[in-house]
C-alpha cells in the first residue's frame, strides 16, 4: 500500500521541551530509547562484575564493596541474597531493558520510518507514550534496588513460589512486587511500539516500496513487532496473576505450602502454570532480541561487502519460519519441570527444527561475504562477529533442545554459555554494529573508527574467553545460580581456576566497554561532520540529511525503483545504486523488482 504525501510538515515552532524531551519525532524517540537502554545496559554490566567478583574470589574480602553496598556486602563479602539479586537483575535488565529496548525501541523507531520513506510513525503520540512508559518501567526497576529486602532475587524467570511468597527469599518482598510492576509497564510500552511498527510498515511505505523490496532490517523489525504483540500480553496476564497471588490472596500459582516455619500459599494453584505462561513469552522474547540483530547484520554485511545480500527471499522466509516456530518451542525450557514427558517430545521436534532456518541464515551470510570486497568498518567487524558468536551459540542449542541430553545440561553453566552466545552477545553485537553504522545518520557526526575497532577486538576476543569455558563447566555438571561451589566433590577442583580466569576476562571486557562510551559521547560533540551517505549504502535513510530533519524528507517523499541491495551491479558505474535511482526504461515503481 502506498500513501501519497506531498504535504509540507510541521511549520509550528518547537520548544526545547517538545523537540528533545516530549518529542513525537520517531528519531528523537529512538535516541531516547537507545540512550536509556545503554544506561540500563551499563547497570547490567556492572552487576555482572559483582557476580564475577563473587564467583572468582568467593570468600575473599573486598572492603570497598562494603562501603559501596552496606546492605548487600558484609565485611567485604557479598551476601548470598545480594548475589541472587544481582543474578536476577542482571538477566532482567540485559534482556528486556537493554537488548530489547535498544534493538526494538531504538533501531525499530529510527529505521522503520526512514527505511520505508515515511515522515514518521503512524501514531506519533502513541510512540512518545511508549517511550515514557518504558522510562517509568526503568525507574520502577531501579528504585527496587533501594527497598527493604533488596530487589527481586528469584531469577529473571521469577518462578513461583519463590517469587510468590514474601518469606521465601528476602527479595520476594517489595522488590519482587516492583519487579512485576516494572515488567507490566515495560510490556505496555512494548505493545504501544509493536502496534505502531506493524501499522507503519504496512501502511506508510513510500511509492514503489513493495514488501518484496524492504530492507531486511525492516522485515526483521516488522516480524519482531508481530512476535511482541502476540506473546507479551501473555506475560502481562501472568504478571498480574502473580501480583494477585502475592497481594490479594488468590492462588493461581501457589498450592498449599509450608515456608519458613508456617503455612503459606493457597489451594489448588500450580507453579508450573507460571512456567508455561512465562516461557510463552520468554521464548519468543529470545527471538525478539535476536531477529532485529539479524536484520542489522544482513544490512551491514551487504553494505560492507559491497554485495547484494545472498538469498533475500530465503532470508525473509527464514525470519518468518523462526518467528512462527518460536511460538511453539517454549516447553524446551521445561523438559525436567514435571511437565508431561510426551510434551517434551513435541517441543523437542519444533525446537530442533529451528536449527534449519537458522542454518539457512548463517549460510546466506557466508555466501554474502563470498566474492565481496569487504570494507572493514567497525560496524562490519561487529556484523562478522555476530555471525561467529551466533553460530557458536546456535550449535549448543542442539544439545539443549534434545531432552535426553538436556537432562544433564539443564540449569548448568552450559546453558549460561549457550544463551550468552546465541542471544546475549549476538544481540549486543547487533546493537554495536547498528550504532557504529547509523550513528552518522542519527547525530550527523562520525564516530572514531580506530577506537571502535579496538572496542571490537577486545569485546570479540573477550566474549570467547568469558563464555566458551562455561561450556566445560556445564559439561562437568556445575549448576548455574550457585553462590559458591565449595563442598561439592563432583565439581573438579580446577573449576575454581576456570572461574578466576572467566572473572578476570569479564572485568577487562567490561572495562573495554568504556572505549565505546567515550567514543559515543566524544563523537556526539566532536566527531567529524557526517555526509549524507558515508558508507555508500543503497537504502532510503541514506538519501535523507544527516541527521534528517523533523519529517525526514523535503517537500516530496522519495520514490523507490529497486530493491535494497543493488551493490556492485555490473551495469552501473558506481558500486552501489540507491533505491531511489530509476531503472532505465521502466516507469516509476513498476520494475526493478527483478534484480
Amino acid at each position: 500500500m502506498v500513501r501519497e504525501t506531498t504535504t509540507e510538515v510541521h511549520h509550528h515552532k518547537e520548544t526545547f521541551l517538545t523537540r528533545y524531551i516530549f518529542s513525537m519525532d520517531h528519531k528523537v524517540i529512538a535516541i531516547q530509547y537507545l540512550i536509556t537502554a545503554l544506561a540500563m545496559g551499563f547497570i547490567g554490566l556492572f552487576l555482572s562484575w559483582l557476580m564475577r567478583i563473587q564467583l572468582g574470589w568467593s570468600g575473599r574480602q573486598f572492603p570497598f564493596l562494603s562501603r559501596l553496598f552496606p546492605g548487600g556486602v558484609e565485611e567485604g563479602i557479598i551476601k548470598p541474597e545480594f548475589y541472587l539479586a544481582m543474578v536476577t537483575m542482571h538477566g532482567t535488565i540485559m534482556i528486556f531493558f537493554f537488548i530489547t529496548a535498544a534493538l526494538v525501541g531504538g533501531f525499530g523507531n529510527f529505521l522503520i520510518p526512514l527505511q520505508i520513506g515515511a515522515r514518521d510513525m503512524a501514531f506519533p503520540f502513541l510512540n512518545m507514550l511508549s517511550y515514557w512508559v518504558f522510562l517509568a518501567s526503568c525507574i520502577v526497576l531501579v528504585v527496587s534496588f533501594f527497598v527493604t529486602g533488596g530487589p527481586a532475587a528469584a531469577g529473571w524467570t521469577a518462578y513461583p513460589p519463590l517469587s510468590g511468597v514474601a518469606e521465601a527469599i528476602p527479595g520476594s518482598g517489595l522488590g519482587q512486587t516492583l519487579w512485576l510492576l516494572s515488567l507490566a509497564l515495560f510490556i505496555a510500552s512494548s505493545l504501544f511500539g509493536s502496534l505502531n511498527y506493524i501499522t507503519t510498515t504496512l501502511n506508510l511505505r513510500t511509492k514503489g516500496l513493495s514488501m518484496g523490496r524492504l530492507p531486511l532490517t525492516v522485515w526483521a523489525l516488522f516480524i519482531t513487532a508481530i512476535l511482541g504483540l502476540l506473546s507479551f500480553p501473555v506475560l502481562l496476564a501472568a504478571a498480574i496473576m502473580l501480583l494477585f497471588d502475592r497481594h490479594l490472596g488468590t492462588s493461581f500459582f501457589l498450592p498449599r505450602l509450608f515456608i519458613a516455619g508456617h503455612q503459606a500459599g493457597g489451594e489448588g494453584g500450580n507453579p508450573i502454570l507460571w512456567q508455561h505462561l512465562f516461557w510463552f513469552l520468554g521464548h519468543p522474547e529470545v527471538y525478539i532480541a535476536i531477529l532485529p540483530a539479524m536484520g542489522i547484520t544482513s544490512e551491514v554485511l551487504a553494505t560492507c561487502c559491497r554485495k547484494p545480500i545472498f538469498g533475500y527471499k530465503a532470508m525473509v522466509l527464514s525470519l518468518l519460519a523462526i518467528a512462527f516456530l518460536s511460538f511453539i518451542v517454549w516447553g524446551h525450557h521445561m523438559f525436567v519441570s514435571g511437565m508431561n514427558p510426551l510434551l517434551g517430545t513435541a517441543f523437542m521436534t519444533t525446537t530442533l527444527l529451528i536449527a534449519v532456518p537458522s542454518a539457512v541464515k548463517t549460510f546466506n551470510w557466508l555466501a554474502t561475504i563470498w566474492g565481496g570486497n569487504i570494507k572493514f568498518t567497525a560496524a562490519a567487524l561487529f556484523a562478522i562477529g555476530f555471525v561467529s558468536v551466533f553460530t557458536t551459540g546456535g550449535l549448543t542449542g542442539i544439545f539443549l533442545g534434545n531432552p535426553p541430553v538436556d537432562i544433564q545440561l539443564h540449569d548448568t553453566y552450559f546453558v549460561v554459555a549457550h544463551f550468552h552466545f546465541v542471544m546475549g552477545t549476538a544481540a549486543v553485537f547487533g546493537i554495536f554494529a547498528g550504532i557504529y553504522h547509523w550513528f552518522p545518520k542519527m547525530f550527523g557526526r562520525m564516530m572514531n573508527e580506530p577506537l571502535a575497532k579496538a572496542h571490537f577486538w577486545l569485546t570479540f576476543i573477550g566474549v570467547y574467553l568469558i563464555f566458551f569455558p562455561m561450556h566445560y563447566l556445564g559439561i562437568s555438571g556445575v549448576p548455574r545460580r550457585f553462590y559458591d561451589f565449595a563442598n561439592y566433590d563432583f565439581i573438579p577442583p580446577s573449576v575454581s581456576g576456570v572461574n578466576i580466569f572467566i572473572s578476570i576476562a569479564a572485568l577487562i571486557v567490561g572495562a573495554a566497554q568504556i572505549l565505546f562510551l567515550v567514543n559515543f559521547v566524544w563523537s556526539l560533540w566532536k566527531g567529524p561532520k557526517a555526509e549524507k551517505n558515508p558508507w555508500k549504502a543503497t537504502t532510503l535513510e541514506w538519501q535523507a540529511e544527516s541527521p534528517p530533519p523533523h519529517g525526514n524528507w523535503g517537500p516530496q517523499l522519495p520514490t523507490v525503483y529497486r530493491w535494497a541491495y543493488d551493490y556492485s551491479r555490473p551495469d552501473a558505474t558506481e558500486d552501489f545504486v540507491p533505491q531511489t535511482v530509476p531503472v532505465v526504461g521502466a516507469p516509476a515503481g513498476t520494475d526493478g523488482g527483478k534484480h
Binding site: R256, I259, S337, G338, G371
Partner: protein
C-alpha cells in the same frame, strides 16, 4: 601479500583469532580436560552417547563454519582494484543447505525422541520406591516401610514432630520411615530399578545426581516420579538444580548405593512413623 590491501590487519587478525579459538575448542574438548562426571546409572550410558554424537556433529559444523567465515573474510578483504561479484541467488545451493541440516535434525529428533520415551517408560512393577522432599535448603526422605505403601500426607498436619505432615490415621503410614530434612541418607539398591517420588514443601527444587544423569524438579503440590537404575556402589552427591533461595548452593544430599540386602538390613533398623510420632 603482494598488493597492499586496506583492512588486511583486521582480516588477518580475524583469521588468526578464529583459528586460535577453534584450535583451543578442539584440543580442550577432545582432550576431555573437563568432561561429564563419572557415570553410575544405566540410562546415563545412553544419554551420554547421544551427547557425544551431538558433540561430534556440532563440533564438525562449528569447525567448518568458523573457519569458512574467517577464510571468506580474509580472502575477500578490501581491495581497491577489485570490484565485488554480483550474485544473489543460487537455487541448488540454497536447497542443499536447507535439506542437509533438515536431514541431520530429523535424525537427531528421531534418536532423541526414542531415547526420551525409553527413559520415560513406566518403571517395572515392584520397583524399589523412595520419596524425596525438597525443603529450603535440605532434603527430607521417606521410605514406604514393609507394606510398600506411602501413607497420606497433608501440609496442614506439619508440626515439629511430624515434619512431612504424615497422616498417622492412614494405616499405610504406620510403617513409613522418614528422615526430617538434612538427616539421613538416601539408600538405593545397586542394579535395581529405583523410583524416586519427588515432592516439595515450599518452593521449586530439582533432584540432581550428576553421576546418575538424573535431574527432575520437585514441585510443591505435586508428586513427580522419576526412575533409573544405579549401576555402581558407592556414595554420590545429590544437588539442588533449581534456584530455591538463599541457601540453594548448600542444598547437598548424600546418596548411598549398595546391594539390596544391605539396604533392606539398614531399613529394618530404622524407626517407623509409629515409633516416632505420638
Amino acid at each position: 601479500m603482494v598488493k597492499k590491501q586496506k583492512g588486511s590487519i583486521h582480516a588477518g587478525l580475524f583469521l588468526l583469532v578464529t583459528i586460535l579459538i577453534v584450535l583451543a575448542a578442539v584440543v580442550i574438548t577432545a582432550g576431555r580436560f573437563w568432561w561429564l562426571p563419572p557415570l553410575a546409572s544405566e540410562h546415563g550410558a545412553w544419554t551420554d552417547r547421544l551427547f557425544v554424537v551431538t558433540l561430534l556433529i556440532t563440533g564438525i559444523v562449528f569447525v567448518l563454519v568458523q573457519i569458512a567465515l574467517a577464510y571468506f573474510v580474509f580472502r575477500h578483504r578490501d581491495d581497491p582494484e577489485r570490484r565485488a561479484a554480483y550474485f544473489h541467488d543460487n537455487k541448488p545451493l540454497e536447497i542443499t543447505w536447507t535439506l542437509v541440516p533438515a536431514v541431520i535434525m530429523t535424525l537427531l529428533i528421531v534418536s532423541g525422541g526414542r531415547l526420551w520415551s525409553r527413559i520415560h517408560q513406566s518403571p517395572p512393577e515392584g520397583a524399589y520406591e523412595v520419596e524425596v522432599w525438597g525443603e529450603q535448603f535440605k532434603w527430607a526422605l521417606r521410605y514406604p516401610g514393609k507394606d510398600g505403601q506411602f501413607g497420606r500426607t497433608d501440609i496442614r498436619l506439619i508440626n515439629d514432630t511430624n515434619p512431612l505432615g504424615i497422616d498417622t490415621k492412614d494405616p499405610a503410614s504406620k510403617d513409613d520411615i522418614f528422615f526430617p530434612a538434612g538427616e539421613g541418607e538416601l539408600h538405593l539398591p545397586v542394579g535395581e530399578p529405583v523410583v524416586v517420588r519427588l515432592r516439595s514443601k515450599d518452593v521449586l527444587h530439582s533432584f540432581y545426581v550428576p553421576a546418575f544423569r538424573v535431574k527432575q524438579d520437585a514441585v510443591p503440590g505435586m508428586v513427580i516420579k522419576t526412575w533409573f537404575v544405579p549401576t555402581k556402589e558407592g556414595e554420590f552427591e545429590l544437588v539442588c538444580a533449581e534456584l530455591c533461595g538463599l541457601g540453594h548452593y548448600q542444598m547437598r544430599g548424600i546418596v548411598i548405593v549398595e546391594p539390596m540386602e544391605k539396604v533392606q538390613e539398614w531399613l529394618s533398623q530404622q524407626q517407623t512413623v509409629m515409633d516416632v510420632i505420638p
